[in-house]
């Protein structure tokens, strides 16, 4: 296995063009260095892209937020520019431990496309887009929901580099949240993760709801059935119960070493109810202030 350290975008793209699928990109290494010894990755060359400049910033671009693919989880958790994306910051702050957060990147978390990827539910509820570039075909972007194709599978071509994630700021009367279920208070791969973005109208009815989960299906996904139940309705106990039932039937969790499918299904409606309650309080507090 060879090791190449790239120091510029051009350098990286030319290496990717040369090696194609034999290359594995290495950023913070939090997934790569777990998968290499288990034999889950057998790259011909490891391409270390951490030194590439300009890929770790969080910037406003014409009203939208652009997060560089090499932005660390810690950076995302604390960057003031991401104030409107509480769920993303909460998810980043709950990945692994502090050491993992210091080196792990958003690009790595998304491109690894783990069923339990913490950052994906928040990116999905914010309709984030992912930007890619290749030496031969130039730039393109697509929604994260199209980018993640399945368990550890993405739409990234072998010669492409993910450069950034674009998020449109949410409107008013909106709050978002990410809730993670784990056995411990840190260092956990999610047993279940749920992100909710809720917008209420003047009369307290649901103007828009977006729900996404991780660790309960082959890859993180939006739960549109639940969104449709909530849409336009008043947040009564009956409605929340109905949404919870819908969420249960939308998920296809498995039994694994972390938790059983039955447990995940038992937690999911409760977690949704907690998320609704907490975002509702956030919106009310914002309005009263």
């Amino acid at each position: 296995m060879d090791f190449i350290r790239t120091t510029s975008m051009e350098h990286t793209l030319s290496v990717l063009e040369a090696y194609g699928s034999a290359a594995t990109l290495l950023a913070g290494g939090t997934d790569v260095f777990a998968q290499l010894p288990r034999g889950e990755l057998t790259p011909g060359v490891l391409v270390h892209i951490m030194p590439v400049p300009g890929l770790s910033s969080v910037v406003l671009e014409g009203g939208a937020i652009s997060i560089g693919a090499l932005a660390s989880h810690r950076r995302i958790a604390v960057d003031g520019a991401l104030g409107g994306f509480g769920s993303l910051r909460q998810a980043a702050a709950q990945i692994g431990g502090w050491q993992t957060q210091a080196v792990g990147t958003i690009g790595g978390n998304v491109c690894n496309a783990s069923p339990a990827a913490d950052l994906l539910p928040p990116l999905l509820i914010h309709d984030a887009r992912v930007a890619l570039v290749s030496a031969s075909r130039g730039e393109r972007s697509l929604p994260v929901s199209d980018f993640v194709k399945g368990r550890h599978a993405t739409a990234r071509e072998a010669d492409e580099l993910v450069t950034s994630f674009l998020l449109e700021p949410p409107g008013t009367h909106t709050a978002d949240i990410y809730l993670k279920v784990g056995r411990r208070s840190a260092m956990e791969v999610a047993i279940l993760g749920l992100a909710l973005r809720l917008t209420l109208d003047d009369r307290g009815r649901v103007a828009q709801a977006r729900v996404a989960t991780c660790a309960a299906s082959p890859c993180p996904m939006r739960i549109t059935a639940v969104e449709e139940i909530l849409q336009g309705e008043e947040l009564s106990a009956d409605l929340i119960a109905e949404a919870g039932q819908s969420l249960r039937s939308s998920l296809s969790p498995i039994d694994d070493v972390r938790g059983s499918a039955a447990y995940r299904l038992a937690v999911a409606p409760r977690l949704l109810a907690r998320a609704i309650e907490q975002t509702k309080v956030q919106i009310m507090l914002a309005n009263s202030g």
Partner: protein, 760 residues
Amino acid sequence: MTNIGSDLPRADGWDKVAGKSQYTVDYSESGMLHGCVLRSPVVCGRIVRVDVEAARSMPGVRAVVTATNVGNGRAGMLVRDQTLFADREIRHHGEAIAAVAADTLAQARAARDAIELEAESLPALTTMAQALASDAPLVHPDWESYALNPMAAELRRQGNVAGELIADPDGVDEAFERAHLVVEDEFCVDRQYQAYLEPMSAVARFTDGRCIVRTGSQFPYNIREELAAYLDVRLSDVRVIGQTVGGGFGAKLGCGTEGYAAVLSRAVGGRSVRVVKTRDEDIVTAPVRENAELRIRTALDAEGNMTAREFSCDMDCGAYGLETPTFPSILFHFAAGIYRIGPVRVHARAVYTNTPPTGAFRGVNGPAVYFAVERHMDNIARRLNEDPMAFRARHMLRDGDTLLNGQALADAHIAREACEAVQKSLPAVGARQSGDRLRGVGSATGFWVTNPLPGSVTITVGEDGRLHVLTGANDNGSGAVAMGLTQIVAEAMGVSTGEVIVGLPDTDLSGYDSGSQGSRTTHIVGKAALIAIDDLKTRIFDVARQMLPPGANELELVGGMVRAVGIGDAQVPLAAVFQMANFSNVSLSGSGTYATTPPAFTPGCAVGLTMPSLLTPTYHAHRAEVEVDSVTGNVRLLRYVVAQEVGRAINPDGIMGQIQGGIAQGIGFTLTENLRLVDGRYLERSLEAYRLPLAQDLPRVEVVLLEHPDSEGPFGAKGVAEPPLVFAPAAIANAVSDAVGKPFYKLPITPEDVLFALDT
């Protein structure tokens, strides 16, 4: 008195924090080779063929050994039922098949992977129920031929039962017939991994025909005994030199890697070989805490007095016995808890299965027994509609009451004192429910024991007056040597702790020691040191009298000086006393050996009883407040209060550390640590899957130390290290049961268990 009861920094603390301590993995010798072990992927089977030819011819490979090259020496803590490598039978997943030594670790591993193992899988006994079935095959068909160590003389064995205890006093059936109420509970606990920081490791070489092994073992003298048995050499032809121990918690009492390093070194003509387990290998092969099933029935009369009890327990030895066959005897002593109960019938068995062996883990067997006994007490109190602590107080043993072995418990009132202390600190819970979170409080109380086995110390005055302490005791990380022994010696010799140098154990040089186990080191080795100092002081004073003015009869040691009491300021430094002694044919060295004298007990109180009495008891009460998240089923400790009787606190800070650490392991055993067997293999085989509690998961433990100096212990000290873990599972499980309003009978209590209990 400045050294006793003081929070002095530990002698080895700075180097450990700064990463300077030399553990076995940091230690190397010139020309050292690297070894690794091929382990069985099969749970139970018969070896058809082990082909090592390809491996032998690989680059850098110096030796490949299997059962056929190393002989069939058997060793074991109690029953010598274990060989270094599986010979024909494979009895558990992870059993050693072969070992390789090569110039580099990568070469050794490549060669190991090239060994061809052909094994025929056989039906495995992966549960105790399977192993106890009347038609079950025997895990050890030759069990009757195995040699027993002296400690195992009373062991009762039969087929797959590696150790059985039966106590059947008169009057049990009659009491149950007359009972007003019978309360019956069944409990089970799963396995727990010791999870020390330093995976098992050893470096071995042969010099002048003798085997020299360096290892961070808790019990170097036992390593020597086991190695001599495996290698089939005289005991004294093995020399074990202690290294800094990176934690052990009981797992490093017997051979882990030492035997493989030794046979590989012998195979390569004596060159040094280092063997270090990987973490995943360590998890699969560590002598983890045993899984157990426990059943308790208690008969009560119309006044709510407990008139009799039946207690039965099966515990899983795994494929080899290690320490586990003696655990039924430990269970016997605690089967009644610390309560007045009529006659107690006990039937406890340690059972061989085709699973990785279990063994000693801090508080051996205690966490499971007290979990059952103290959960059962809560259940009885609930049935009687009594407050659990009031019920306990009403039935607690009183001073002079006897235990199940007939031994009198002189200080039983201290447990009552401990219970009062934790209740005062943590009164009943206020609001039981706040939003979607539930709160509860639970307690546990009882007594524990200080291991009585012998230890020895030699103390020598050096040329500059400093004190060199030679002992076979190794500090397993608890501070028992670095704080306990060091402070005891300093105090008795009238010097500061900086004047006391304690070396690492070396079986060629130091006297015998029974290992850092059973909370014994401070108590036993500290006492041996005081005996040594009595001897040494006589010699020092005899020489010093010649150097002091006439009339200096009564002497004392103060600040590194020998001082004449009552004669002005006449004194002479220890260094000068050494010089005088050196030319007066006097050795300024003193030695002491100590083991606790067993108290009287009733012979015949049980059969199969390997430990007839309980020595140097200590008394404890724990009280926990928990918060249960009804959305996730997660349990968080809000407060944790401990009242622990310690005899005399030599270093209170050190004891606080032991208590905080023990509670952390108790929280793990009760809530987060799953080590599940599925068809004979662990499901959790890495520290990612095996969830140790994290710093954020731990409460700030509040401690009340109760001091009732022991007449025999050094400055009154008793054992302190194990009990924090022994009582934590019961207290936490009682608190969770209280919060949820449903009883929990199984450890660990997972979020799934909690959620499903809330739903039903």
